[in-house]
Symmetry: C2
Subunit: 154 residues, 2 copies
Amino acid sequence: MSSTGSPVSNDDDLLALDRQVCFGLAVASRSVIAFYRPILEPLGLTHPQYLVMLALWQGAPLKFKDLAAQLRLDPATLTPIVRRLERDELIERGRLEGDDRSFTLSPTEKGAALRQQALAVPSTVIERLGLPVEQLLALRDGLTDLIAAVDRAT
Amino acid sequence: MSSTGSPVSNDDDLLALDRQVCFGLAVASRSVIAFYRPILEPLGLTHPQYLVMLALWQGAPLKFKDLAAQLRLDPATLTPIVRRLERDELIERGRLEGDDRSFTLSPTEKGAALRQQALAVPSTVIERLGLPVEQLLALRDGLTDLIAAVDRAT
DNA sequence: TCCATCTTGTTTGTACACAAACGATAGTGT
DNA sequence: ACACTATCGTTTGTGTACAAACAAGATGGA
C-alpha cells in the first residue's frame, strides 16, 4: 500500500517488528525474574537484592556509587534496596575516610553465609530451564550488543 | 576445587554466567525502555501504555482478559494502566452482553488518531539504535525461545 | 430454588524504577 | 575566610509489577 514492495519496510511491518522486539524483551525479563522468584524465596531475596549480593560477594567492600554503576541502577532505586538488605542484616555500611557523604557496603557474616545457598541457584535455574548453555551464551552476547548499541546512541 | 576441570562447570563459573544472563536481560530491558522514553514522551505514553495501544490498534475491541493474556500481564497490573489511558481519553470501555463482570476496550477517536504519530516510533528507534535488522530478528528469536523455555518449565 | 463454586476484575500491600528536587559535604577560586 | 560550584546519597511523586484477599456476577448441581 505505502511501501515499495520490499519486505519489512513499510510502517506496519516495522510496527509489528518493534512490538516483537521491545515487547519480547520486556516479557522475557519479567518471565525470567518470575522464574527466579520461587528459587530465591527460600533465601529471602528478591531478584534485585540477589544482584546486589552477587556484586558484593564478588568484591567487597564496594562504594555505594560504584555498586549503582555496576548494576546500572539509579541511586534513588538502589537506596531502598540497600535499606532492606541492611534491615535483614545481610549487608552493612562501612565509613570512608576523607568523604563523609560516601560510604561502602559489605556482606555481614550472615550475608556471607548466604552465599553457600546461593551457589545452588544458577544450576537449579539452568537445569529447570532446560536450555543448552551455548544458547544462553549466544543470548548473552546478543543482549550485550544491544546494551552497547543503546549506550552508544544515548 | 570442586569441579572436574571442564570449563563452565563449577559453581563459581555458573554464578558468573547466571549473573551475565539474568542481569543482562534485566539491564537490556530497562535500557531499551529508557531508550523509548524520550521517543514516547511526545505521544504522552509510557512503555506499557504503548504496548496496550499497539495491541488495541491491531485489533479492537478486545476483552480485558484477552488483553492481559496477550501482554502477559497480571490483571492487577493492567487495571491501573487501563485507568490512566481512559483518564487520558485514549481508550474506552464497551459493555459485553451476557456477562456483566467482563468488558471490552477500544481506542477512542483520539486514541485512533495517535496511531499516526506512533507509526514513526519504530523507524526512529531502529535508526537511532543503528543495529542491523537481522540482528534484531535474531535477538527476537532468542528471546522467544527463552520465553518458551520458561513457559515449559513453569 | 438454593447454595456451593468458579470467574472476573479491583483493591491492598510490598517492592522496584526513574525524574526532579533536596540537604549535606567537598572542592575551588578569590 | 568566603562564596561558588560540584558531588553524593536521600526524599518525593508517579508509574509499573505481582501476590493475596476481595466483591460481584455467573454457573452448576441437589
